[in-house]
Subunit: 370 residues, 3 copies
């Protein structure tokens, strides 16, 4: 197989073009099935195009999206249809804009420099604005301008140095979550090190121990600092891969839910990134939760085979379509991309994924190209 | 074994009579043990019957149910006992009324009609009032007048057609959660189909793929539509059953927590339905969560053997007495009903199950008849 | 192996002395590594001691701990550093005070008396004040003056009698959660017994059935009574231990989150109790959740091997560093204490573990002594 993160990079570049092409194809295919006597509905197919949403407007919860409360304000069929069309137009506009462009992209693979055989990664923590969805800018703390911070990939047994520059106006420290480092590299101020004061630089160094999907994040005033973005994936590739790890697309999905809203890799729908694979390919998703809430992530159309928990192999792989991911947990799953189409992929706590005016937050899509 | 849903239907019809008979028996048995020198307490047995609750009254949280806050308002033993009796009378009244009658019953097995070898199920979505517990009517969206909607049972490999009529005043769509359908049958408006407008009818059709305990529900404005009741069980029976699936009672338990309160199969205690089995029988419970919160469901008296997650067999069955069910998840368990009696069965997030004036919400009972 | 609870008692007595000695050692070791060319940072090491916090003061969220909001109130480097020092001083003070002394200690092993071969445990429920962290006294309901109530340990097959005296000002009852007792010993008022009125005594008796980590707690007005402290560990040791159960330290960790705040064994950090083991020892942690929220418990530095769920062996042990514990669940894990140092051990829902002025709540430490 090719390197998984190279594949991911390709994927990302191609994603918007592929999504739009494929989404249209999906609808066309549906129409074709309807035409040849299969499912689908002529009446629906003949429905007029949804009305454009009024400028800046969304259906008012008390009037337009009740779906008909018994005994309350009867409306004519025309009024009902107009209200439904107005709501649906918001839904359609959201989906058609996916993946929407925003400033900033987090969770990008970081290239280390090599010094005397040591892989050196430099992280600078600083405050900045971050655009989570088009036009929504939030107060963020970022590593290297990214939320989540850049992905760090190393191999089991490699020597690793992490140089942390603190450009925040408060102290910080970096904890390597799940990585079994020596105690003095654990990143907990006043237990294993002094805090890194504003303006200071601090260096961590260790030999990459237990392989798997881990994380790095602040462990100082962490409810605020992690909530605002000081987090990232820390992946230790094993010396020897298991056969099941030979995948075509390897995707890190970090979910969060703090002051940035419900996000996947730092963005809310429709600014989230679709995952793209070709029919027959194998996809690995590395779920990581850096939030304050548990999120049951649900994939449509195909099941997931769970292989690892917190970087450790499960005794035997097991299958599901909804994987419950708690803060601090990592779950690695394999998807055999054998069902072509554009598939919703979202948190199944529905208020984290849809409002009356459409999907938002923890929603993305898996696009399986035929 | 007999057909599991037939057994369930029998069960339901017998449930109130059985529960009352058995509950009384349980208390009588306890008294007998006390009398023959075993556990139980003569002082308690001699306690006067609890005072009837005052009309419409319940113990005030600040005065009667503190259990004695240090230094606050000392009360005489008589006052203390009167307050305890008043609180207990509410508890007793709730339990004695179980299972309480309400209008409407959801989650009933639906008989399809057969057209050219295709199993056809018709679902009509409409707004209505729904009685979740005696006298509590909530705004609901129902399929065929039921919350949850009717159970759909098909066999792996059968051709299935679902005809959806939308009598709501907003658009809708139906997603078959966990069912690996072709993309254009996936029920996500603007990704896989147009929304079903008010008054329209839309048809889904597919060959039943991966067997197991699945669900169907709205995937349009779903936080509201599913929260109000547009959901139901979609069960695909396997071509060949595993030995462990040969059960005497097969029970679908859908939990929810939206604007209808904490419910099991659309009702809150004491209007929930007891599950009834005979001593020595095997019970399968298919837990499904359509809510917004995770609920750890706890069975008293016997353990549960977990066999399936989201319709997929676990690599090996495993045992527990509390199963954590997240939104979108399904967990199938087997209970060997080898401990006779009436056993509480409830969410162990206690504020979902009990208030100062007694049990409510996500509480039911498993009655094992000797 | 020696008896696990004896070991635990030793552990507790030694804990504060060991923690302080070891924590200092950890910092010294870090400095040593820095000096010999390894990681660590000279600039940080030279940082002045943190300023003492102002009397009663903590950094104001809007001014001192923003970490630098873009465009808001620029501060001089001196002001920034002073604010960081003030915040850090709070963090340091919290950690240096750990384990802080408070009145009352819960979760202590209870010695039964033996009557005709029956192990008799007496529990008295009463209201009292409880100090969860230094100076914070909350309204509690306690068994025998302890929150959690005393640990009850029996062996599979032993006859057990539990005599419950109710000194509360409301009725109560005791449920043996996870223990497969006969129905009339199940502790659910009006289903399996009458409530135990204020002033009354009630006796439970049964032969200890299924071994494992179980619990006992109130099952009457339980959201209040359990929330205030009427809960404890009920552990049934198996007739024959599995090899994996031969541990050096056996620790019961009960988490709770009601009106007492986020607690571990009835206390919030820094009043929580460190767990102490020697390098190379095996530790068993028996997690039990008696709260209303799910808590993903995360151990630094070493992984946990999960062996039991709700007292039942998992089909195969599996590894993790974050274990999601839902209300009513018990999870037993083994830690091979092979990484020396003081390791944070906390709920990874960060607002349950850290505030801007430092760690609090569901935080403790595992101290592995070299």
């Amino acid at each position: 197989m090719s390197a998984p993160h190279d594949t991911q990079t390709e994927t990302v570049a191609a994603s918007r073009r592929d999504f739009l092409r494929f989404s249209a194809l999906g609808l066309a295919a549906g129409a074709a099935v309807a035409a040849c006597g299969g499912p689908g509905n002529a009446e629906s197919a003949a429905a007029p195009a949804a009305a454009a949403p009024a400028a800046g407007g969304m259906p008012h919860p008390d009037t337009n999206h009740t779906g008909g409360t018994i005994g309350a304000h009867p409306r004519t069929p025309q009024q009902v249809r107009a209200a439904a069309d107005a709501m649906d137009a918001h839904h359609e506009a959201g989906i058609k804009s996916f993946p929407a462009k925003t400033q900033g992209k987090g969770n990008q693979k970081m290239e280390p420099r090599i010094e005397n055989g040591v892989k050196v990664f430099e992280l600078t923590a600083a405050a900045q604005k971050w655009e989570t969805e088009p036009g929504k800018f939030v107060d963020a703390f970022a590593y290297n301008g990214q939320v989540p911070g850049p992905q760090i990939w190393v191999k089991e047994g490699e020597r690793v140095r992490i140089v942390v520059k603190n450009n925040l106006e408060q102290s910080t420290a970096v904890h390597f979550h799940g990585v079994e480092v020596p105690n003095d590299q654990d990143g907990v101020p006043f237990i294993t090190q002094p805090p890194i004061k504003p303006g200071e630089t601090y260096t961590y160094e260790f030999t990459a121990p237990n392989p798997g999907s881990h994380m790095y994040h602040s462990h100082h005033n962490a409810a605020e600092q992690v909530g605002k973005g000081l987090l990232g994936a820390f992946i230790i590739e094993p010396r020897e891969k298991r056969a099941i790890e030979n995948v075509d697309v390897d995707y890190v999905m970090i979910i969060n839910d703090g002051s940035h809203g419900y996000t996947i890799n730092g963005k809310g729908f429709p600014a989230t990134e679709p995952i793209v694979a070709k029919l027959g390919q194998k996809l690995r998703v590395r779920f990581m939760n850096e939030g304050m809430m548990i999120h049951p992530m649900h994939l449509h159309g195909m099941h997931m085979t769970v292989i690892d928990k917190d970087g450790w192999p499960q005794p035997q792989p097991w299958k599901c379509d909804t994987i419950n991911v708690a803060p601090g947990e990592r779950w690695d799953v394999i998807v055999n991309c054998n069902n072509p189409g554009t598939w919703a992929f979202h948190c199944h706590i529905l208020p984290h994924a849809e409002m009356p005016n459409g999907m938002f937050g923890m929603v993305t899509a898996l696009v399986v190209q035929p």
